[in-house]
Symmetry: C2
Subunit: 421 residues, 2 copies
């Protein structure tokens, strides 16, 4: 399928019809110039899907939102919802049953002000853990956020969920209606995200909200979302895989073509929609990796020739998580030995004699042996490029994957080590 | 068994009878004040055991030494040897068959000058990879090294194998002869090591040589060594698990009691010897972790209450490899949330409600919930202690382990990222 099945456009979580959003300062943070409460509200109940952290430690909002979905559908990954409320500044994690009770109170407040049922509200939180969250900021902020809801509020919402992020992360695409069985209409898929795979404190976890105005049934929406998350957010690693609060919600309003039948799995229309959702999630995932704490470079780790998908993922992830690889890139060093070392201990099956490695397109290793390359050219490329591609062919099969990460700089140590001193 | 079965003493790889060693400048490095060739020679052929890197990428000296042992015994992990030659400054890795041919030439040269058979020589290398190693430094250095061999040469050898190490690493213990069935004699186990788990370049891999003058048959010596390595070197992680060149050799001369029968597995004497070998390897492993690149603290990660040994190891290793945990320690931050996050994604089975975490003896998490602790006391302890203990009880079983690591500082980034710029 070509990229022409969709087109990138401006906007984010309110690019799709049927959604309004807002971001306000509610008081979770002392800094009044930083908004800290985001609200996304659908005009009517929506098919909704969610993926959550796999970490054994999971925060109260994750437990609560799972239960909300399960109550609506019997399945903790999909259901019917109207609103998503997200605060930054406090993760409501390691807060036990009291934290879950607070989520319930928070959802009730949102439902009161929005005018929906309490069981139609999903919640998410990001920020410091182990600090009890109180209702006061919600009581102040939710009415303001509801008053501020607008079709143009996606950007404000994306800003309000930021923690250590230096930039809001948004993406939207449009699809010609004919491709989804509704000629004359235009469908949209859009979203916002924050975080960069950092676990728990200091103020970072991954949260994303994706919306579409295509008509999809909730279980099918979960299938779409799960597939896209597997190829995008789950392929980003800054220094770990999961946090207490990682959450990705997706809502489908069907509002672009109210009378259309839901897009059904197995159809060409479903494949088109899948591709659009993947594109939005991949863009957001790459924005997260590029904005990793202290990062100066986006790093694409492309593994090909693996014996299995699991091997490709293990090899790419081990490279992407290697502090030695990441410090080498920060130091503008085309150090393929560290890449080979990571692949060699990843558990992937291969023979060292079959391995080729390219860095920024320069062949630095062929058949497991060092290749002479132009070191001045490598330094020039490191200076010029803001996206560094590490390509490893294991010569062991046909499987491949791409994982995104960033470099490890002095600023990474400063952000994560020095914030107390 | 109490610690009184052995006593720590001065010395290293020549503490045991029957061994001489030396360290000289042979010219692998330009800096003539840094010795770069170490030689350990036994007075007579010795029972010998070896463990090697598990990395798919393994360097020529690993391939050659495995083959030497296999030729002497049919088993690539044990055999009968006279000499170990180690150079620093060049890892002879990613050098293909030419690298293995060079090892053969190197062993032949050593055997000529020492006066033993070429198949009684083991080799190891550490340093940069992908740069062809030449015979010239060996031709210059080996005769000097043989001339310098002495009973007091262990320290010089330990210095000659250093790369980014800031200190030589040595340990020795003695055992009362009666415990090994030779009243009146004193047995010794000693050793030297370099490295800190860093992979490949820049100039670091783990190499260790352990010697004893107890009588042990080669296959039993491998059992002793393998067990000790599993509890010591394999529990150190600075930023990865294995390199191209990781090698640990152990030689047993029997010289402390030439007429004694070999110590047999299953006996009390074997258990005593095992404990002594573990003690030496653990000391060397801790010295390696403490000397991790840029490290200011030795970090002991103690996991208890795990459902299995594999779970204990996964939990401890995930904590010890977490850049967020390691930067927090560098920043003197008792940040238990990052520890919980690492444990939660380690794959170990447990319930978050059952987890207790202590940092430097301070209870910071009980039953998965944040505990109030004295932050001033924590800062005082971080200032005072040069060894930080992170203790995690998973409340899921009886298995436990300890893994050693170090903190991640700005110097880590400088050493690994900035060396070109």
């Amino acid at each position: 399928m070509s990229e022409n099945v969709f087109a990138y456009t401006d906007g984010g979580v309110t690019a799709a019809q049927g959604f309004r959003a807002s971001g306000v300062h509610a008081g979770f943070r002392r800094n009044t110039s930083k908004n800290d409460l985001a609200l996304v509200v659908a005009d009517a109940p929506c098919a909704t899907a969610a993926t959550f952290t796999q970490n054994v430690f999971c925060a109260a909002p994750v437990r609560f939102s799972r239960a909300q979905l399960a109550a609506s559908s019997g399945n903790e990954h999909c259901g019917s919802m109207r609103a998503v409320v997200i605060n930054s500044g406090n993760a409501n994690a390691a807060t036990g049953e009291a934290g879950v009770d607070l989520c319930r109170e928070e959802a009730a407040l949102v439902s009161d002000v929005v005018g929906c049922a309490p069981d139609e509200v999903l919640v998410a939180s990001t920020g410091v853990i182990g600090v009890p969250l109180t209702m006061a900021p919600f009581k102040q902020g939710v009415p303001q956020a509801v008053a501020a809801l607008s079709k143009d509020g996606g950007h404000a919402a994306a800003q309000a969920i930021m923690t250590t992020d230096t930039r809001p992360k948004e993406c939207a695409v449009t699809i010609d209606g004919a491709r989804l069985g509704c000629a004359g209409a235009t469908f949209a898929v859009g979203g916002m995200a924050k975080g960069s795979g950092m676990i728990m404190p200091n103020m970072a976890t991954m949260i994303a909200v994706i919306t579409t105005d295509a008509p999809v049934k909730a279980p099918d929406l979960y299938a779409l979302l799960k597939h896209a998350v597997g190829l995008s957010f789950n392929k980003v690693t800054v220094d770990s895989d999961t946090s207490t609060n990682d959450t990705c919600f997706m809502l489908a309003s069907g509002a672009a073509c109210p009378d259309a039948q839901p897009v059904e799995p197995g159809t060409q229309a479903f494949a088109v929609l899948q591709e659009a959702v993947c594109a939005v999630c991949t863009s957001l995932a790459r924005q997260m990796a590029r904005d990793g704490e202290g990062a100066t470079k986006l790093v694409d780790v492309v593994v090909t020739g693996a014996a299995s998908d699991a091997d490709a993922d293990a090899a790419a992830r081990t490279i992407a998580n290697s502090p030695l690889v990441k410090t080498a890139i920060a130091g503008h060093d085309a150090n393929w030995g560290r890449i080979a070392g990571a692949v060699g201990r990843s558990g992937a099956q291969f023979c060292q004699e079959d391995v080729d490695i390219d860095i920024m397109g320069l062949p630095v290793c062929r058949g497991g042996l060092a290749q002479t390359f132009d070191e001045d050219e490598a330094l020039r490329l490191f200076d010029e490029l803001d996206e560094i591609v590490i390509a490893v062919d294991l010569g062991a099969g046909e499987a491949s994957t791409t994982v995104w990460t960033c470099d490890f700089t002095h600023d990474y140590i400063s952000i994560n080590g020095d914030y107390r001193t």
